[in-house]
Each structure stands twice: as structure tokens, then as C-alpha cells.
């Protein structure tokens, strides 16, 4: 017998092991980087203004358009306002609009998708055709159209952004609901006399949780991007309040004077915020994606 046969515990060649380690590191790395960046962004927006309690709207006419110095770490704008204070205040303004907007879009998307997936066939058809119509128009165009109609303040911006970015999630939730509602455990629960709301709440949402969390993360990035784009075009957060998008815009207005300290910081934080949402989402997807 081959009881003397020794099986060494080295799975594969060193190259293969290195490859596995790399995969492991990159899967974890994506999530860790994403979460770290997210924490950084939230820190800037919500804690930053208290750590650096300088009035962002105080005007220093004799210090206008100064490059970074000890007195003004991120320089000043054309009115002599402290760029760092503006950046921190703009962060707060950006986040308190885009986070609730993402939550609103998430709730609308999930509710719409569940209604379409669980409701009668005619409702499903109606809701999905409606969704097609919404998706057929570029969202920025719709956004600009409505933004030009209403008075812009935080509430209206939240509603506007929230109602614009739900369709893709709604379709995803609807398709997933369709796929899940015929599974045996759902049928067995129906057999217990459970209603649709109960099944959606207890069973479907729990099975869909990974997909929802991943896509919810992406939606936060989308909302920040949409708000920044809108503000850049002058239809977002209104003066005197500033946001990352509007800060970028003021800097670009006078680009001939090369105020790099006015352009780079807001550009970098918007980019970092989008990257944070995307990496976190992808990291979660890698961990949960292939599990059912």
C-alpha cells in the first residue's frame, strides 16, 4: 500500500502562490483603500470645518489671489477668502446634499423595483416602460431642465438628485426580484400564508443585501458627481454657499491667471470622493459578488 506516500503541503509552484497572494492583496486592497478614502472624505466634510474654524466668507481684499502660505495654507481666491476654509465648507455643503440624495434614490429605486417585480403583470409592464422612458433621456439634460425651473436650495437639490439617479437600481432590483421570487424558499414562505410585503422585507431584501449595498455605494459616488457637475454649471449649490463643483468653476473662470491652488484641491477631492465610492463598491462586489 502507499501509506508511505507523502503528500507535501505545497499547493503549486512559488509563482502560483505569488499570484494567489496578489489576488488576495488586490481584493482586500481595493476594499481597504476604498474605505480609507471614504473615511477621509467624510472627515474633510464633517469634521474639517471644526478643526480649521476659519470663516470661509471673510474677505481679505489685500490678500486676494495669493498662493499658499503659512497664513493661508491653500491660498486665497480673487476676493481674498481662505481657500482651505472654502474647501472644507464646500465639502460639508456637497455631502449634506449628495448623501441624502443617494439615500432617497436608493429607497425609490428599491421600492420601484420591488413593486414592479412583485406586483401584477400589468403594473410591471407599466413601470418598466416608464423606466425605459426615463432612461432614454440623458440624466444631465433632465437635471438641467428641472434645475432651471425650481428654486435651488438644499431640499430641492436633494429631491432633484434623488429622483434622477434611481432608474438603474430599480431595474436591477426588479430583475433580481423576478429571479428570486420563484425560488423554493419563497414559495414555501407563501405557503405559510405570508403576504408580499413580508416576503419582500424578510426574504428578498436579505438575499439581495450584497447587491444593494454594492450599488448603494456606487450611487453615493454618482450623487456627488452629479451635484458637482450641476454646481460647476452654476445650477447646484447657490452663492454665497460654495461646493466643490462651484469652487472648481470659480478657479477655472480665471484660469488665465493660473490660480492652481484654486483648481487642484477641489478637483482632487471630487476625484477622491468618486474613487472612494467606486473602490468600496468594487471591493464589496469582489467579496460578495460570487456568493448567493
Amino acid at each position: 500500500m502507499s501509506d508511505q506516500l507523502t503528500m507535501t503541503a505545497a499547493p503549486g509552484a512559488p509563482a502560483a502562490r505569488l499570484g494567489r497572494m496578489f489576488t488576495w492583496a488586490s481584493e482586500r486592497g481595493t476594499l481597504i483603500t476604498g474605505l480609507t478614502l471614504s473615511g477621509f472624505i467624510l472627515f474633510i466634510g464633517f469634521v474639517g470645518p471644526f478643526i480649521y474654524p476659519v470663516d470661509p466668507f471673510a474677505i481679505h481684499p489685500n490678500h486676494a489671489l495669493e498662493a499658499p502660505s503659512l497664513a493661508f495654507p491653500f491660498g486665497t481666491d480673487e476676493l481674498g477668502r481662505d481657500e482651505l476654509a472654502l474647501l472644507l465648507s464646500g465639502g460639508l455643503a456637497t455631502l449634506i446634499v449628495s448623501l441624502p440624495a443617494a439615500v432617497l434614490a436608493f429607497v425609490v429605486g428599491v421600492a420601484y423595483g420591488l413593486a414592479s417585480g412583485l406586483g401584477p403583470a400589468w403594473l410591471d409592464r407599466l413601470l418598466m416602460r416608464l423606466l425605459d422612458a426615463v432612461l432614454a433621456l440623458p440624466s444631465l439634460i433632465i437635471l438641467l431642465f428641472f434645475a432651471s425651473l425650481v428654486t435651488l436650495n438644499n431640499t430641492s437639490l436633494i429631491l432633484l438628485l434623488g429622483f434622477i439617479s434611481w432608474p438603474s437600481l430599480a431595474r436591477l432590483v426588479r430583475n433580481e426580484t423576478m429571479a428570486q421570487k420563484g425560488r423554493d424558499f419563497v414559495l414555501a414562505t407563501e405557503q405559510l400564508g405570508a403576504g408580499r410585503f413580508y416576503i419582500a422585507r424578510v426574504h428578498l431584501l436579505r438575499v439581495m443585501a450584497p447587491i444593494l449595498v454594492v450599488n448603494g455605494t456606487f450611487m453615493i459616488g454618482d450623487a456627488i458627481f452629479a451635484l458637482s457637475a450641476l454646481s460647476f454649471l452654476g445650477l447646484g449649490v447657490q452663492p454665497p454657499q460654495v461646493s466643490w463643483g462651484s469652487l472648481l468653476e470659480t478657479g477655472l473662470d480665471i484660469i488665465a491667471l493660473n490660480p492652481w491652488w484654486m483648481i487642484l484641491p477641489p478637483g482632487i477631492v471630487v476625484f477622491a470622493a468618486l474613487l472612494a465610492a467606486s473602490l468600496t463598491g468594487q471591493g464589496l462586489l469582489a467579496r460578495w459578488g460570487n456568493r448567493r
Binding site: S2, L5, M7, A9, D184, A188, G193, V207
Partner: protein, 614 residues
């Protein structure tokens, strides 16, 4: 006769996590030309890995030791290029799922021609002629017209024939068939086995037949080799094995096979050990009724004193004939009526779009059946017979015409809200236990759910009820903390049963409850269901394609074919004296283990008069 395939001391280890784990240990076997050797075992026994390692179709990271002789060639000395020459030319392989093994985007002819030309070369014309010849040989009717069809245009059995044709393309000396009939209907499976038998005789081909189905082995194999937890436990001539199994595991396995007219299936206590935690001595020892201290010391050497060789220190004596093989004597009891199904029809709208009208597909036509309180009604039929649809109609999951009365109350006359309440009285256990438990809910909460959803007053706290239910289905209440992914298939099915019981039903519809489980697990579950019915007075509607399982459980059996009831009668009577040709064929194809159970159960005298042929 010389050996086509000789496996010497074959050990295989596969990577699991960060280490390699030995899956198969010191396998020795020989397949002679023209002989069929059945490699038998339950899931986790290593039988498929053994078959795959002959062809070296193992997952990356696998390690292989020992020798595999195919004719005069030691396959373990060949490199990958050498193995490619062997695969298909010297040894052909047939897999379990022909739909997955065939390329859906290419015609069957193209795939058979490819298998031929890879090794033989030659003209396209010659290859096509060979494909035509092969399709005819495997029994595809009118092969010339089917050459350019795609796999989806063939039925499951015909696809398996195409697979066999591909494997035969280069006239190999060895055919490896890995569960070729699992998943096929019994009548079709029987034809496929007959085909393999005929081909091996005509071509003097050795067949290594991997299976878990002992009744097929008994009927077709010359030799048998039983694996348990990666080690050989018993091997030798199939005839001797079935006459006198010598290893306790073989005996237990044979005792747990459901077959026509059996009194009680044997339970094998405990679970198969994981590859990491296999016991040092005899691997079956922890579950063995005949265990002695010596068994745990080392792996036992083969005992050669009987008709077969058994790796056991204390093999069963040759004349042993345990009483578990005694046939059942079922008495015909009159059950008080509970469920009445009258003129039940189910139509599905098939096809049809915005403009074209849908054509109705009739899944069930005018079914009239009844179920008594405490009775088990078996519903037997092949796939597509409408047996699952019948179950779903009874459960009120689908729309139907006709009436279903529970204790005289017509479901179709109830309001939606009333129906939702009344449905609870009929519960269901599905085929795939993994699908029937929400993967993200803890087992405790899965079982508590029916209690929480019920309006009935609670005499005992929910936690205690859940623990009682778990113990009632033979599980440790501690399992309640786990998620469904953390339990075995058999345990998951017990949990599904506990969940159904938690709703305090009067009837449970069992839709193929054991067909995705191993033989020994199936035996334990069937026994559990039987005991529960006795304890609680539950009624069952047992839906299955397996006549033996149904006959073990059911008091009465209804045979369904193409949406209609072909025959209904007492279980014993229908087996002893099937009336319609269809039932006769099904009974004949059912697992029997004839060499153990020579006779059919005695037929009650009044059973014959009750036969109704519809």
C-alpha cells in the same frame, strides 16, 4: 482476458484552502477487456476523482501518486501532450450531464467529427461518414436527418447517446462512464445502460462505470469496487458481492437502498468524515455496528476468505442474511377521507407574444384523486408527466380548473384572504434542500418563521418549540445558530421538514424529497418521514420518479403519464400486478436488487379488485 486498465496504488490529493488534502488513497483496480467494473460510492467517496485521474482531468494543484496502466502504457509517465493523445483515442469518457458536455452552438455531427479527426485526421467526408455510422450505432433513429441538428434539439436520453457516440469515435479500448444515467428518467436510463452493455460486448471494450446506484450495478456490472471516504472497502465479482456482502459498510449500503416492497430501510448513523478528519484506522469504524477496538488501530488489510475481498478485520460471514432484507407486509387500512381532487386540469399559456396568441399547454387533464387522513399517496411519473404540477395545484400555488376540497371545503370558493389562511394546512418539502432554505437566515429563525407567522396561541416559548422541532427531525438544537450554507444536504432537508412541521400542517406535499441525496441519507430521511407520519397522523402526497421510494412510503400509488392518471391502486397491488403497459414498464425499471429480494411482497386479497384503469 488481459486488463485494459490497471490502477496501482493510486492516491490523489487536491488543494483545499492553503494545503493539499488526500481525497483518494491507495486505490488498486483492474478493468478487463469486455468487462464492466462499477466504481461505487456515495458523494465524497472519491469515485469521480478516481475516474478523472485516469484521464488526468484533475483541477489545478492536484497531486497524483501511483500508476495508471492503460494497456502497456503507464499514463503517469506521460506529459500533457502525451495524455492528449490518449484521451479520446485509447479511452473515451461519458459525463453525467450531456447538455453541459456538448457544445450548444455546434451541430452534433461537427462534434463527433471533431472527436474522430483529432486523432485520425483524414477527410471531412470520411469523418462525416463515421459520425453517421456512430449515430446509427448508438440507436438514434433516422441518423442521416439528425446529423446537422444541435444538442438542444435532442432529448436528454438522445443527448447521452450522442455523448456515447463521441466517446466511441476512435473505437477506444476503455470507456469511462461517470454517472451516465443520473438525471435521466428510469425508462430512458434503462435504455442507455442496455446500449452501453451492447457496445461493450460488440467492441470488446472495458467499461469503468462510476455510479452510486447499486441496483444498476447489480443488473449490468461484472465486477464491483466500493469506495468509502477515499479508501476501497470491498471489491470483487458483482455476483458474489450482492449475494454475500462482507464489509459492514456494503451491507449497510445495500440495506439503505429503497426498493420495491421493503419493510424498513437501514440507517447508517453519523456522517461521512471530511477528508481532513478521516479516522486513522478503518474509516467506517465510527459508524460501524460491529466495531471493536482493533478497528481503530490501522487500516485493515483485505480479507480474501469470501467471494469478494473486504478491507475489514471482522468481515461478515458468507452465510449472513440479515433480517433487514425482509419484505414488507402492508395491511390495507381504510383512511377517513381528507383531500378530494376532482376534475383537476392545469393549462399553461406557452409562447405567444404581443401579437401572436398564446397556445395553451395542458399540464394536467381531468385528475380525480383522493387522500385519506394519515395516508401516504404516492404520485409516480417521469419528467413532464405533470406530477410536480399536481403538487403545486394541491398547494394552491398555481391556477387550476376543477376543485380541490380539504375536509369538504372547496379552495376555489374561498376568498383570497381565507385561502391564504387555509393554505397553511398543506405544507411542502422540495427536492433541493439548499433552494428551500433562505441562505441568509439562521436556521433557528427559518424554523421559527411558521410559528411567528401563525395566529395560534403559543403555549411554549418559540425557542423551546424550535429546539423540540430540531430534535424531532433528529438534529442537535445547536445547529440552529448556523446558516444553511453550514450544514450538509441531508441536514438541510431535515431542517426543511422541521420548518414544514412548524406550521402544524395536516398534509405535507413531498416533491422528490430525497432524489438529490445520497443513498444512505435518503434512507434516513425516508425512515424519519415514515416515523413522523405514525407519530402525528400526518398525510403525505409523495411525488417521485423513483418507484422504489414511493413503494416504500406509500399506501396507495397513482401513476401519471402526460398529465393524466394512468392507474391508481394500493401500493402492494400496483407493484405485484400492474395493469397498464406504462406502469408495467415503470415497475420493471424500478430498482430491485433481485439477488437480495427475490420475491414481491404478498398482495392483499382485496387489493386486486380495487384496481382502476383510467
Amino acid at each position: 482476458m488481459n486488463a485494459v486498465l490497471r490502477i496501482e496504488n493510486l492516491s490523489v490529493s487536491l488543494p483545499r484552502g492553503r494545503r493539499n488534502v488526500t481525497i483518494l488513497d491507495a486505490l488498486n483496480l483492474e478493468v478487463k477487456s469486455g468487462e464492466m467494473l462499477a466504481l461505487v460510492g456515495e458523494s465524497g467517496s472519491g469515485k469521480t476523482i478516481a475516474a478523472l485521474s485516469v484521464m488526468r482531468l484533475l483541477p489545478p494543484g492536484a497531486k497524483l501518486a501511483g500508476h495508471v496502466w492503460l494497456g502497456d502504457t503507464d499514463l503517469t509517465t506521460l506529459d500533457e501532450a502525451g495524455m492528449r493523445q490518449v484521451r479520446g483515442r485509447d479511452a473515451g469518457m461519458v459525463f453525467q450531464n450531456p447538455l453541459a458536455a456538448l457544445n450548444p452552438s455546434r451541430t452534433v455531427s461537427a462534434q463527433i467529427e471533431e472527436a474522430y479527426r483529432v486523432h485520425h485526421g483524414g477527410s471531412a467526408k470520411a469523418a462525416r461518414a463515421r459520425a453517421l455510422e456512430l449515430l446509427g450505432e448508438v440507436g438514434i433513429p433516422d441518423p442521416a436527418t439528425r446529423l446537422d441538428d444541435y444538442p438542444h434539439q435532442f432529448s436528454g436520453g438522445m443527448r447521452q447517446r450522442v455523448m456515447i457516440a463521441m466517446a466511441l469515435a476512435c473505437s477506444p479500448k476503455l470507456l469511462i462512464a461517470d454517472e451516465p444515467t443520473t438525471g435521466l428518467d428510469p425508462l430512458v436510463a434503462k435504455q442507455i445502460m442496455a446500449l452501453i452493455g451492447r457496445l461493450r460486448a460488440e467492441h470488446k471494450m472495458g467499461v469503468l462505470f462510476v455510479t452510486h446506484d447499486l441496483s444498476v450495478v447489480e443488473e449490468h456490472a461484472d465486477a464491483i469496487h466500493v469506495l468509502y471516504a477515499g479508501r476501497s472497502v470491498e471489491w470483487g465479482a458483482a455476483r458474489n458481492f450482492f449475494a454475500h456482502p462482507r464489509h459492514p459498510y456494503s451491507e449497510a449500503l445495500l440495506g439503505s437502498v429503497a426498493r420495491l416492497g421493503q419493510a424498513r430501510l437501514q440507517n447508517i448513523p453519523g456522517n461521512l468524515p471530511e477528508p481532513e478528519t478521516r479516522p486513522p484506522g478503518c474509516r467506517f469504524a465510527p459508524r460501524c455496528d460491529y466495531r471493536r477496538p482493533a478497528c481503530e488501530l490501522g487500516y485493515p488489510p483485505p480479507d480474501r476468505d469470501g467471494g469478494t475481498e473486504a478491507a475489514c478485520l471482522f468481515p461478515l460471514p458468507v452465510n449472513a442474511r440479515p433480517d433487514i432484507f425482509a419484505p414488507a407486509t402492508k395491511s390495507a387500512i381504510a383512511f377517513p377521507p381528507q383531500l378530494e381532487i376532482a376534475d383537476l386540469s392545469v393549462r399553461y399559456a406557452a409562447g405567444g407574444g404581443w401579437l401572436s396568441p398564446a397556445k395553451p399547454f395542458i399540464a394536467l387533464r381531468d385528475i380525480t384523486l383522493s387522500l385519506g387522513a394519515g395516508e401516504c399517496l404516492g404520485v409516480v411519473g417521469e419528467s413532464g408527466s405533470g406530477k410536480s404540477t399536481l403538487g403545486r395545484a394541491v398547494l394552491q400555488m398555481i391556477r387550476y380548473q376543477g376543485s380541490i376540497l380539504l375536509d369538504g371545503q372547496d379552495f376555489s370558493k374561498l376568498s383570497r384572504a381565507q385561502k391564504q389562511v387555509e393554505r397553511r394546512r398543506i405544507q411542502v418539502v422540495f427536492q433541493d434542500p439548499r433552494e428551500s432554505l433562505n441562505p441568509r437566515i439562521r436556521i433557528r429563525d427559518i424554523i421559527a418563521e411558521p410559528i411567528r407567522l401563525s395566529d395560534a396561541p403559543r403555549e411554549t416559548p418559540i425557542g423551546q418549540q424550535v429546539a423540540e422541532l430540531l430534535m424531532r427531525v433528529g438534529l442537535n438544537p445547536e445547529i440552529g445558530d448556523r446558516l444553511p450554507g453550514g450544514v450538509s444536504g441531508g441536514q438541510a432537508q431535515r431542517i426543511a421538514i422541521a420548518r414544514a412541521l412548524a406550521a402544524r400542517p395536516e398534509i405535507i406535499v413531498l416533491d422528490e424529497p430525497t432524489s438529490s441525496l445520497d443513498v444512505s441519507t435518503q434512507a434516513m430521511l425516508l425512515n424519519l418521514l415514515k416515523d413522523l407520519a405514525v407519530e402525528t397522523g400526518l398525510s403525505y402526497i409523495l411525488i417521485s420518479h423513483d418507484f422504489a421510494v414511493v413503494s416504500y412510503m406509500a399506501d396507495r400509488i397513482a401513476v401519471l403519464n402526460a398529465g393524466q392518471v394512468v392507474e391508481v391502486n394500493d401500493a402492494a397491488a400496483i407493484i405485484a400486478n400492474p395493469q397498464s403497459d406504462y406502469t408495467k414498464a415503470l415497475v420493471a425499471a424500478a430498482p430491485q436488487l433481485r439477488s437480495i429480494n427475490h420475491q414481491y411482497p404478498p398482495v392483499p386479497q382485496d387489493g386486486l379488485t380495487g384496481t382502476t384503469i383510467l
